[in-house]
């Protein structure tokens, strides 16, 4: 019945909430853009899983004669797409090798934050009352806190180790999940099918798991994709500042830091890893938007 002309305001009702930009994006993404981004993410994922196996050269192989070569240069070893570092190591290979730890930290941290957030959110939304108030208070306090600063302090005190990074990063994301899940659970709790489940004798636990959670799954997934990007940026920041991952381990953030002293003479050392990081987060953002409209339309 969308053909009725509204008496006031917009004449036709046929446009989306953000001004049709999503519609345009949809066209663009579905044509070939989406394929490129998904392909890119798959490639990064592949790099993460296979480590340096797919890198053109051994990232640790030094070749002092080929040091600080700009992108698209050749050395006796071969062609260096993204140049070489001060010790002659191939940049592209270093970046591919760095994908593993970067993604590992980001995914694990997001997952941990998601687990905590979803659990707390569901409890708050389902049980209400005191539990709800407690969780809400906790979320409020956590959001009001300058978490990144606390993380800096935490890592300085506890030592800049990967395990500490993975411990503190989830604290940045769990409130977002908790809020979302809490709101959705409250909404779903009042739906008829939950009443039916209760009436037919399901336990609370099974209601939560089998009935409510599946409905939330798509929205949680959309949020998770975005948050992986945020966590990735946070880890990069910490590593760049020197209090995150330490050498000899590599993440993209650390690579940027290592390249920084050479900015005036070999800009690619710092810029290229950042580019890869930025493209990955961008791909995640675009993918998450696509997922949101797709699942929003379905839900």
């Amino acid at each position: 019945m969308a053909n009725s002309a509204a008496a006031t305001g917009t004449i036709t009702g046929e446009h989306s909430a953000d001004g049709g930009t999503t519609a345009r994006w949809r066209q663009w993404l579905t044509s070939w853009g989406l394929l490129i981004w998904v392909g890119y993410l798959l490639a990064i994922g592949l790099f993460a899983m296979t480590g340096s196996d797919l890198a053109p050269y051994d990232p640790t192989a030094q070749q002092v004669l080929a040091r600080l070569l700009p992108p698209f240069s050749a050395s006796s070893r071969g062609f260096h797409w993204l140049g070489t570092d001060p010790l002659g190591r191939d940049m592209l290979s270093s970046m591919i090798a760095g994908a593993r730890l970067t993604l590992f930290i980001a995914v694990v941290s997001t997952f941990a934050g998601m687990a905590v957030g979803v659990a707390l959110g569901m409890m708050a939304g389902y049980y209400g009352g005191l539990v709800d108030r407690l969780v809400m208070r906790l979320t409020e306090l956590q959001t009001a806190m300058p978490m990144f600063l606390v993380a800096i302090f935490f890592l300085t005190v506890m030592g800049p180790k990967v395990i500490n990074v993975i411990i503190i990063l989830p604290a940045l994301v769990w409130p977002a999940f908790a809020s979302l899940v809490r709101a959705e659970t409250m909404r779903l709790r009042n739906c008829l099918f939950v009443e039916a489940a209760v009436a037919s004798g399901c336990t609370e636990r099974s209601i939560l798991w089998a009935h409510i959670l599946p409905n939330l799954a798509s929205r949680i997934a959309v949020l998770a994709v975005i948050e992986v990007g945020h966590v990735m940026l946070a880890e990069a920041g910490l590593s760049f500042l020197g209090i995150g991952v330490q050498p000899p381990q590599t993440t993209w953030g650390l690579l940027i830091a290592k390249g920084r002293p050479y900015l005036a003479v070999a800009w690619w050392l710092a810029i290229m890893p950042g580019l890869m990081l930025g493209l990955t987060v961008l791909a995640l953002n675009l993918l998450s938007r696509r997922l949101a409209t797709a699942s929003g339309a379905a839900a």
Partner: protein, 311 residues
């Protein structure tokens, strides 16, 4: 809807802010004194067990936890954050010296972000699906996907190294403010842009906008006279939240990139030198900024609400 009276809300909000500040100091304390061992950290590398124990006693670290915290908190409230291990001066003094540089950078960055983001956001929201709208929107997504320190480095390469228009780093006069404030302006402006854009779009689809057009008023007039009044609140609160983000860490990475002598750079230098008092002081001071700004935005929003809905 009854929100409760303004004075009651103000008190509650301020109380909440203090609670959070207290929690932050508690967490810092717990992390610094109980979880880590400052005595071990501060002792020379080859110190013996007795020497470490002696240092511990000197610092009062062998007293019960509660007692330690009370005395710690007490000194904090009096402004005593301890002595910097690195500069042998009161930690708070060190922090206060670095504060003006940070304030200058963040305020200028915020102004750029607020003006740029709001202006472009209104224009884009008023012309949905136009080239301006799509281009600016894409740009904003990109700006929010890249690490802010990387963007700073990129700008240094382009403008300072290659084009030699501005200095590469340091606080050497107003030109050196351009790039760091510009970087902050771009990144934080992007989010302001997105929010203002969607708010503007929502407004132009509302009936009163159509009515205004039926009165024969031109589009630009409607945008800046009618729509702006409705989006101004969103602009102001978003600007506030972006400042929270800046002081919550985003600005500090930029300070490090540009060697800007502010709290952020101080924090990292203190961290690398294991100068806990200064690090604590910096974190707490920056945290206080965050908490105060948060509370200010909430109060501002509530105050506006009572003005807009007097009835």
């Amino acid at each position: 809807m009854n929100y409760g009276s303004l004075p009651a809300f103000t008190l509650r909000r301020l109380r909440d802010g203090l609670v959070v500040l207290f929690l932050v100091t508690l967490i810092i304390f717990v992390l610094g004194h109980v979880v880590g061992d400052p005595a071990e950290v501060m002792a020379p590398v080859d110190a013996s067990e007795q020497e470490i124990a002696r240092i511990r006693q000197q610092l009062g670290l062998d007293r019960p936890f509660g007692e330690q915290f009370v005395s710690y908190f007490g000194s904090l409230v009096q402004g005593d954050f301890g002595q910097s291990l690195w500069q042998d001066r009161p930690a708070l003094t060190v922090v206060n010296e670095a504060l003006p540089a940070t304030v200058l950078l963040t305020v200028v960055g915020l102004i750029l972000a607020g003006l740029g983001g709001s202006f472009l956001g209104m224009l884009a929201g008023a012309r949905p699906e136009s080239r301006l709208d799509q281009g600016a929107n894409l740009l904003s997504i990109v700006a929010l996907s890249v690490p802010n320190f990387w963007l700073g480095l990129l700008l240094i390469v382009i403008f300072a190294v290659e084009l030699r228009l501005v200095p590469t780093s340091g606080f050497t006069g107003w030109q050196s403010l351009i790039l760091p404030a510009g970087t902050l302006g771009m990144i934080h402006g992007a989010r302001i842009f997105q929010l203002v854009r969607s708010a503007t779009f929502e407004e132009i689809t509302k009936p009163y906008a159509l009515v205004a057009r039926s009165k024969g008023l031109p589009e630009r007039f409607i945008l800046w006279k009618h729509i702006l009044r409705n989006t101004a609140v969103i602009m102001a609160t978003t600007v506030g939240w972006e400042y929270v983000r800046m002081m919550g860490g985003a600005a500090f990475a930029i300070e490090v990139v540009f060697a800007w002598p502010g709290i952020g750079q101080l924090m990292i230098q203190a961290a690398s030198r294991q100068d806990f008092p200064v690090l604590q002081a910096a974190v707490i001071v920056a945290g206080a900024f965050v908490i105060v700004t948060n509370a200010a935005v909430d109060l501002f929003y509530r105050y506006l609400d009572t003005r807009i809905h007097p009835g």
